[in-house]
């Protein structure tokens, strides 16, 4: 049984744990729920245990035109595209979601005080290339016009309210994420040189006029100069250019941990640069962020509402098999354990890759060559995350920048927290903080560490971490809910791009189409949306409908 000190030392460092253990764990942090994806149902799929249920021939069968496996951003976006393309009838589209709640890692929660995120919590203002996403935002009524280059003008109340972020360092909050205070002229020179390098990549175009780093990645260049960045770590790339300023390396490391659950030594240089450059506008400045109190759950709620009864949750799809003579047959297990079949003309599998491999018969049955296995392992490496929602009765005191949306602690291995009420303009009274912790290092080991710590322990880690910046946190705390994401997101480690390209994972297999942010190699709502729309448009074309693409 690990002691409190062991747990804090594991996640926050030994020296900090020694200090933190002098303070008792505030008792409200023991109140709260532990959430996680439904492991039981997930494991039934993984072990193939449910396949036996489909041995008998006389199972109830339903026919739909298009079956969508997975109700996360990719599946819901695919459904959105199909419905908008005219497949709006009762038996046109059915979405099967394994979890009881749709939305994948973009899901959110709600309390009497506020909605709050459980995962992804922002989308940068889309570039003109993200055409389908802009259509979605137009539907949401948040696009007010367009700039000359086609960048949408987003409604003010959806753009992250200033001050966007602040950084805590030795007792004081500073605006922004780069630690300006105490920086030497050499630090600033490196920071400028780094930004210049980012600007160079932002302006870079290949022979076909494509960007090196752009969202959606389907529009990005596959030029050798870009792909070369996949071969080295971000850390090595920085060293080679003399970027050794600790605060610059901290900033880049923070970015890699924040978006990928990778340290600067694990993330590829491609990933490190993608983090910064993909969200830069034509002026080489970072794009503004769009956010909502519950983060990207706002988008998921909209899409799920649109899907209506087409979306069925708590339903496990355990088998997807192309049928002779066209179409596919799905083996489906309902929440109560009853098995049934679904016949579909087309299927869009939007499950994460490690699930897709288990349920799509041709993938499951294909002999796995060792070269393919290596590529799969490199292309689909998953990070483990802990997310804690801290419910507070009031606002914590702070010296320096009084509040911000994103709050990061320079000395901490955590990712800090975002404030759910920030975007609503409610600046006093109770609120909810969403604290994030990405476990870097080997994925399997990270998952073991994640799951070994209990609700109390994760709550303690979160509260101890934040108490260093907010001494009064213990008095404000009402409850702490914790979400353990074992396979949170795909991770762009060194060599991931090449492995992904070799696998051709977006290519349909007969009537089975694929969509998931995994297929882009970075976990972003925008990528999931683009894949969902792409797969939907493939299906629309295969069904012989003549609908122009919105991508």
């Amino acid at each position: 049984m690990p002691t409190r000190r062991d747990v804090l030392a594991t996640f926050l460092g030994a020296s900090f744990s020694a200090i933190a253990c002098r303070r008792p764990q505030p008792s409200p942090s023991r109140t709260g729920d532990l959430l996680a994806p439904n492991h039981e149902r997930g494991h039934l799929i993984r072990d193939g245990a449910l396949l036996a249920k489909f041995a008998g021939p006389d199972l109830p069968t339903r026919s739909v035109k298009v079956a969508i496996v997975g109700g996360g951003p990719a599946g819901l976006s695919a459904a959105w595209r199909l419905v908008r393309a005219g497949l709006a009838g009762p038996d046109d589209v059915a979405i099967f979601e394994l979890e009881d709640v749709a939305g994948g890692t973009s899901r959110g929660g709600e309390s009497a005080v506020s909605r709050y995120p459980w995962g992804a919590h922002y989308v940068p203002v889309p570039s003109p290339e993200a055409k389908a996403l802009i259509v979605l935002f137009q539907e949401l009524g948040v696009v007010e016009g367009f700039e000359n280059d086609g960048t949408p003008e987003i409604a003010e109340h959806v753009l992250c309210r200033a001050p966007e972020e602040r950084l805590y360092h030795r007792g004081y909050w500073y605006e922004g994420l780069y630690l300006h205070v105490g920086a030497t002229s050499a630090d600033f020179a490196q920071f400028r040189a780094f930004k210049k390098e980012l600007a160079r990549w932002n302006q870079w175009r290949d022979a076909k006029g494509r960007h090196a780093f752009v969202i959606p990645l389907a529009r990005a260049s596959d030029d050798a100069e870009v792909l070369a960045l996949d071969k080295i770590s971000m850390s090595a790339w920085m060293r080679a250019r003399g970027f050794d300023s600790p605060r610059l390396r901290w900033l880049v490391d923070y970015g890699c941990r924040d978006d990928y659950a990778l340290s600067i030594d694990e993330a590829s240089a491609w990933a490190g640069l993608f983090y910064f450059v993909s969200r830069m506008g034509g002026d080489d400045q970072s794009s503004e962020l769009m956010t909502w109190p519950d983060g990207n759950a706002r988008l998921v709620r909209y899409l799920a509402e649109l899907a209506g009864p087409r979306l069925q949750t708590g339903v496990a799809v355990v088998d997807v098999a192309p049928r002779e003579g066209g179409g596919a047959r799905l083996g489906v297990v309902d929440r109560d354990g009853t098995a049934r079949r679904v016949h579909a003309e087309r299927v869009i599998v939007t499950a994460p890759r490690y699930v897709a491999r288990k349920i799509v018969a041709p993938l499951r049955d294909a002999p796995l060559l060792s070269a393919t296995a290596d590529a799969e392992a490199r292309a689909f490496d998953y990070g483990a995350w802990a997310v804690a929602n801290l419910h507070l009765s009031g606002r914590a005191a702070a010296s320096g920048v009084p509040f911000a949306w994103d709050n990061v602690l320079y000395e901490s291995p955590s990712l800090g927290y975002v404030v759910a009420t920030h975007q609503t303009g409610v600046d006093h009274g109770p609120t909810v903080w969403t604290w994030y912790y990405a476990i870097t290092g080997d994925g399997k080991a990270a998952r073991e560490k994640l799951l070994a710590a209990t609700h109390h322990e994760w709550a303690d880690v979160a509260v101890s971490d934040l108490t260093r910046a907010h001494r009064d946190l213990g008095q404000l705390l009402e409850r702490v809910d914790v979400f353990r994401w074992g396979h949170a997101m795909t991770r762009p480690i060194v060599g991931q791009r090449a492995a992904l390209a070799s696998l051709r994972t977006t290519a349909p297999i007969g009537p089975v189409h694929f969509a998931h942010t995994d297929l882009s190699g970075v976990a972003l709502f925008e990528e999931a949306h683009d894949h969902g729309v792409r797969a939907a448009e493939e299906v629309v074309a295969a069904l012989g409908l003549s609908v122009p693409s919105i991508r």
Binding site: L159, R161, A162, E288, P402, T424, G425, D427, H428
Partner: protein
């Protein structure tokens, strides 16, 4: 002004003691003769248990007289000053407080005659009581003023208690000292030192105590000196005082309490702020949202939110007339009545007061974040008098909510003839959002046909960029604007922006005359109304960015501009 009176009337009390002293002298004889050192006069050179030479003891006791005289005068001055700070009318407060105090000293002198035995012990006990009551007098009085409607009862009650206790001190000491001096020397020396103490107190109070420590800390420190005197007396009067240890413990307890007050109060209460304000604080409260402080000067009072002046009662009418009447005038000029108004912020009820004077006004909704502020405006007498009870008017509906959040809530769909924004200056991000394009777009949605907006827009002279940033932001939100300003002595040049939805109108936005009113305003008439809209060259437009939720440039402009003055 009070000091000479204190001294003058101090004399008769001693005289009374002198007069009564001999008559009461048999008292000790009535009590069973004890081993009292002061029983037979000849015992004077008796051996002292704690080795203080008799001569030194006598001198030190005279020093005690000096100290208690100083303290006694300071309490009197404290109460007078505090009363005139919070209640105004210094002549009345000084006269009544000194009157009550001195007559109470008379009561004390009379009561001292009732002390028949253990005079020295009683003296020490009185010292401890003075230390306690005098020491906490100023904090108690401030708290009473802030929270009780019967402040005067507490004021005169405390003055009465302190006066009575102080009145007992010198007579008792005279009796203690009578064996050590011949009568004529005794009276001469004690009274000399007593008056000298009065001089010390009267000089130290205005020169050292008030400017350095403020009233509350002065009160606690002087109480501490009394407590120390009590402790010292137990040694000086070691021969006469029984139960010395018990007395020392009690005095030590009071001393500790006062020291705790000095330390603790620094963190929690007005003490820390006294130095920040030019005038005395008469009300201070930390609400969930802000710190509200009311200070009182010679004949005016001021309201501060988070240390920033919101108004001075001396000239707030200029500000509030300028906020309210141009909007009403602009509507009148377009032939429109003003029946239904929305006030955002303005929890002090002063803009309301002016609005409610408009004869045609039927309903006002006031949206202010802080129930602490609207509550104060409803019930705090100084403020309630100034706003003429506007928050109690049946035409007024008070909503305690963040104006931004309230406006964004689609449930609140009603429209208004005029919308007035009376927010604190944008010196913080939480306030900056109230000056954004988003906010003005929301305000615009609240306008009925021909609706007019007026916004307090900080100083176009001291914070010219901030002022024009607000104006340009309003334009960006689809409003036609008319910038204007007024001179408010306690603020300086102050700016406002009048606005209506951009469009085509028969009449200009800028009004040229006030509406027909059955009374005259204090500041505005038709020519001065027109003057408001003339901005001189040093307040003219500048190139500025638009203040949006996602950039909050105004907060940065504002900080940079006011930094030059503060």
């Amino acid at each position: 002004m009070g000091e000479p009176m204190g001294e003058a009337i101090g004399e008769p009390i001693d005289t009374i003691e002198k007069g009564e002293g001999p008559a009461k002298e048999p008292v000790p004889l009535h009590t069973p003769p004890k081993r009292r050192v002061w029983g037979p006069p000849a015992v004077l050179p008796a051996p002292e248990p704690e080795h203080i030479p008799a001569k030194t003891t006598a001198t030190l006791l005279l020093v005690t007289v000096l100290v208690i005289a100083t303290c006694g005068l300071v309490y009197e001055l404290l109460a007078s000053t505090l009363a005139s700070y919070v209640l105004g009318d210094a002549v009345l407060q000084y006269s009544t407080v000194i009157g009550v105090y001195l007559s109470a000293m008379g009561i004390g002198a009379w009561l001292s005659g009732r002390v028949e035995r253990d005079v020295a012990r009683v003296f020490v006990e009185i010292e401890i009581a003075v230390a306690l009551v005098g020491g906490i007098s100023a904090p108690i009085l401030f708290l009473a003023f802030a929270h009780l409607s019967w402040f005067r009862v507490v004021l005169y009650g405390i003055v009465l208690i302190i006066g009575t206790l102080v009145g007992m001190e010198i007579p008792l000491l005279l009796r203690i000292l009578r064996e050590r001096y011949a009568f004529k020397d005794l009276v001469a020396r004690v009274l000399t030192v007593d008056y000298l103490g009065a001089l010390v107190g009267s000089l130290a109070f205005p020169i050292f105590f008030v400017p350095r420590l403020g009233l509350v800390r002065t009160s606690l420190v002087i109480g501490g000196i009394n407590a120390l005197t009590a402790i010292a007396s137990t040694w000086l009067l070691a021969e006469e005082v029984k139960e010395r240890v018990s007395l020392r413990v009690r005095a030590g307890f009071v001393l500790a309490l006062l020291i705790a007050g000095i330390i603790g109060a620094d963190r929690i209460t007005l003490l820390a702020e006294e130095g920040l304000f030019a005038d005395e604080i008469v009300y201070a409260k930390q609400t969930t949202y802000q710190r509200i402080v009311v200070t009182r000067g010679r004949s005016t009072f001021q309201l501060f939110l988070n240390g920033n002046l919101q108004f001075s009662s001396a000239d707030e009418y200029r500000y509030h007339e300028a906020l309210v009447w141009p909007a009403i005038a602009a509507r009148a000029e377009a032939g429109l009545p003003t029946k239904n108004a929305l006030v955002l912020g303005g929890g002090d009820g002063l803009a309301l007061r002016d609005l409610l004077k408009h004869p045609g006004l039927e309903r006002v909704t006031l949206v202010d974040l802080d129930p602490g502020m609207t509550g104060l405006a409803k019930s705090f007498p100084l403020l309630r008098n100034l706003n003429e009870g506007s928050l109690h008017d049946p035409r007024v509906k008070v909503v305690n909510d963040d104006a931004y959040v309230w406006l964004a809530d689609e449930k609140n769909a009603q429209t208004y003839d005029i919308v007035l924004a009376d927010f604190p200056d944008p010196n913080h991000y939480a306030l900056g959002k109230l000056y954004t394009t988003r906010m003005y777009a929301l305000m615009k949605k609240k306008l009925g046909p021909g609706g007019i907006i007026a916004v307090q827009s900080t100083s176009p002279l001291f914070a010219r960029k901030s002022y024009w940033c607000i104006a340009r932001t309003m334009e960006k939100a689809g409003l036609e604007i008319a910038p204007y300003h007024v001179f408010v002595p306690s603020f300086g040049e102050w700016g406002f922006t009048l606005a209506r939805a951009a469009g085509t109108y028969a009449t200009p936005l800028t009004p040229s005359r006030l509406p027909e009113l059955p009374f005259k305003l204090r500041y505005l008439d038709d020519p001065s109304l027109r003057q408001l809209f003339v901005l001189a060259r040093d307040m003219a437009s500048l190139d500025v960015e638009i203040n949006r939720l996602d950039n909050q440039v105004l907060v940065h402009y504002y900080e940079a501009e006011w930094k030059r003055y503060l």
